[in-house]
Symmetry: D3
Subunit: 247 residues, 6 copies
């Protein structure tokens, strides 16, 4: 099997690093790296819930994804300056929120909101899957923060781990965890969000000017399962390391 | 097998109607109905392409989806009045554009744009899949319009038909073509865009506060294939009927 | 007298069609057609009133007009995408609201709002006058809806019918109900909103790069009265037809 | 006949003052006062025309109306801070532009634009009619400015004078030039834009929760003609006075 | 010492005029002129305070600065039409608010807000310093207005006068109160806000493509003190003149 | 002299760290830390200049400052989601741009733009001064990048170093480099931007509900000079360290 440009096998993840306690103010703060892709994921606790949920007694979890202007190879315009959030940004923000809501019992939070912020410091493909994977770790830290302060109705509101990975067809081969160089010319591109208990949370597969048959889909799902298994290990390792005390 | 609330079997589509020539001005104009869901799909031809594509000699295809305020059970606020397009709207617009770009050779258009507008007159679940299915028919009419005027480099730029359908898990059963009543309480919800040649263009599956295992995914894909087969027939029937001359 | 391009006499309306029950969700839903001009008019009932009216015990009626992008001969940009509602759109929305408020006793509604949405599916001149004429019928249906549910303080809150028509000077002749082909080159253009009891609700007359003398104004008002008489008949016919039961 | 609150007869205008050269930078700068209503009207000359008019060889005239926040009895929010221009503001801006375009041959300007700005310093009813009346004088000064610099293809591009006045029905009586106290409770409110050659440019009559019969309309038009005659005199007096040299 | 273009000495202010009662509706209304620079400053009293201050029992003072489109030598675009307030406008609005809050005990107002509006009718340099100087006088009148109505917890909530002046380095010389002609080519530009009790409220000094040494800074502060002394006199004279009764 | 809460003397800076090559894509990328304040400063090179500068042959330098939502003690709303850039953000962006333009000969760039992005990862007071200090280092790296590619008309376009520091009066004492805990209760707050050649670029001093006399100002300027001397050393040290090769 021929190697990929970065020397990996088709079913191999890029090096994954997860750094907890990356900043000091939020209840959870994580830097997640999939190779050169680096995303700062924070989980902040805010009192209250959105208007449509008030009076329900239930909490809420929301997510916002954004790209710093210089994160990409060519500087992109700041969305605050444009005055609106682009379609891609909103789509990813919604995906992150939906994915993480799948693992938490929002009733345990009472009428409080956990806001996940995923800011891409450097982009090299797979920013949304890195964001989901890192946001899960920040969420665990925020839940621990709430638990220490006696703010949870149920001390174990998280039912499973969540991680995400990209797979795709590049040069006619099914490959795991695409960097920008592969992603930008992939024929098929799929993002898979999974739980460590096995089942899937979300799959989004797109033929980019191409189409894909069922057997290709099956192969992509197999590789994705390999990838998320590796990510669940990395999450566990990070969470098992004691968090350094704030300076 | 117990029947659904509207009397259908789990693997049965709602009645599908496709009306061409619904309005007179655009190059293609279609009313598509999946049961009570009704979407007006138009294809307009515009000179020029977006800035980033100028000078390429290639055409472009773009899509915009919108919901009329009174289309839903409870009136929703007009996005023009809010001053911004919501995340869901943008997400669906992008999906429609991506899906239809999979079937057309944009080089044949020269530097012209086909703008697909999918406006939901009445919503009862499955608006995005009806929109894709109807937009394909409007696109075929717009391509014929261009061809009659000698504007195409290749007279057959469309390589396959595109249709889309929703499937989901409701009350623990995998079901095809969910109306609002089922969609709003589905445990898993998936939209599948397919070609009449067999392969898939896009799949988007989401566990709504639930997760789903691989066998469920497989069963959903099987039902979706049944549904799109039915939709390709309806498209062909509509396209085989001569278009009434404009009054 | 020479005939107009579409064969009508100067004082003749285009064919008028009013279809009630056009969609199922809103309290009133009407498709109104003045020749090729087609407007979907809905009346939705919403709890509550705007902030400045709260605590008054009075209801409110508001209207929003919009043009679908492909309604015009050349596709126009979607205002939600532009991020703001244009001056013409706002002006017509305000006109529709003002016109319909002239026939209803808002005290009878209690603190509820009737929202009229007038979405132009196809534009061929006279969209605002068709919108007002159709919105009146949708309003009557919404009032009946409220009455059936015992929500009205006064069961007959509507005091008269409202209809509107355009008149203008084209090729030096005063003409009724201008289609786009005449409207776009009219020297004078006037919209008249009237009640079936006789008096006027609103007149807006504009010399488009020209001016007009009092006798011309008088003649235009005479023709407008002919036109609205015809429209009140069409409204009555539509309202006398039993509304089909929803499927 | 009983007098009005401010002592005027029903057919009497408030004191009208027109001050030319109110500020120094614009080509035309006028302060117009109808009683306590004060509007600063400027005419600025800008190179070029809007995109849709480029290459036509024709000039353009545009107008913007605005209310200073403290102009009204109760401070109103600044539209720049709200981030959008309200419907009323846009409607009046469009009316002013349309009205003044009726008196000028835009071909004489070449591809240049005259921008009229009408900023209300103090509002006491009739701000739009005062604005039109004052903007005409500023326009004459701007045209003279262009003529002195040899910028006009035709040295006399203005064909007639333009003035506007409000009339209405208050306490059952037809009255001329309504101040805020009358305007806010008028049953019918009409604005008439006229030329000094006799014919009308625009009429906008609205029953505010009331309706009006043809004889009332005729009476309002008669009073308006009295009012504009008085305004044309005031414009001529102002224009006959030599403009003070800039300090 | 060589004279400046307008004949002044380097340490001489332009003629200063302060006209109270410029308009009738706001609690305080002042026209302030520094030579050709003219700013209308109003102080309006509004019930309530911003959300973040509610329940504090304290009042608030806010300011908004704006430039009329034709105030400058070349017409500038209206910020309401652009849909956003520019950085320079916001910066000056914030400066005016901060400066005036330095002289007033907000506790005396109860939960009420004083809104200062500074609208530049004509700009010839120094608009922000004229605005601060005039806004102080409007504020004094608004406080008197509140006091007459028994609305103040403390009848003397103003502790000192506030005025502001610009200084700069032009042609290598330190000069006071720069008009546009000097300001636009100044090497260093500084605005100083001071109290009549001596101390400073705010200084903002900027090298415009140049830098400045400490002795230059000292010299600029000395000239600024001369200027504000003159402005405090002009404020006192204006406030000592009885306000004309409203017509 | 009593120590400050963090143990520093009044005239002592927090630990300063400057890390070059923080990310890989931009021409210059720096992480600057003043104690717990951490700002990512990047310098990106973009072809072309703003419209108003085209054809001048001169380059441009612009800056944008932003705060990540979770940078502050309490999460702040994302400005892209609000749809507008706040006044404080714009004010700081303008300050950074102005400050850095003071040290560079823009003619050397040709018609190219250097875009400085300063994104605050963690805020603990002094974010704008840290941003300026770090942006200078990123700018030097971007200039070297351009020079290596032969893109500069003058290989040494930077004439001096730029750094900035805050000083203030807290608890009646003049102190250097205020952290949030001091900044939030400072009586006087001043930011000083200086060059390593001695002179000042910008000073902005504000009495926060207080005023300050000339001797206090002098003392603040003295402390600021101590601080910037320390910062120029840190910049030189960082720039003397060879930049690690990109992986």
């Amino acid at each position: 099997m021929s190697r990929r440009a970065d020397g990996r096998a088709d079913d191999e993840m890029r090096p994954v690093r997860i750094t907890r306690g990356f900043t000091d103010h939020p209840a959870g703060s994580v830097l997640v790296e999939f190779g050169q892709t680096r995303v700062m994921c924070t989980a902040s606790v805010e009192e209250g819930v959105p208007r449509w949920r008030r009076g329900s007694g239930l909490g809420w979890l929301t997510a916002e994804y954004a790209m710093l202007p210089a994160a990409t190879h060519t500087r992109s315009q700041r969305e605050s300056v444009k005055g609106k959030v682009g379609g891609r940004t909103q789509e990813i923000s919604r995906l992150i929120g939906r994915s993480l809501r799948a693992c938490i019992d929002l009733a345990a939070l009472g009428e409080n909101t956990i806001a996940l912020d995923c800011d891409v410091l450097q982009a090299d493909g797979g920013t949304r899957t890195a964001a989901i994977t890192g946001a899960y770790v920040a969420l665990v830290d925020a839940v621990a923060f709430l638990n220490e302060r006696g703010k949870l109705a149920d001390p174990q509101p998280i039912s499973c781990a969540i991680a995400a990975v990209s797979v795709g067809v590049v040069d006619g081969r099914v490959r795991l965890d695409l960097p920008y160089e592969e992603d930008s010319r992939a024929e098929v591109d799929m993002n898979v969000v999974a739980t460590d208990a096995g089942p899937l949370v979300e799959i989004q597969g797109t033929g980019e000017g191409a189409t894909f048959a069922r057997p290709t889909l099956d192969k992509m799902l197999d590789l994705a399962a390999l990838g998320t298994t590796r990510l669940f290990e990395a999450q566990r390792e990070a969470l098992d390391t004691p968090l350094r005390a704030a300076d």
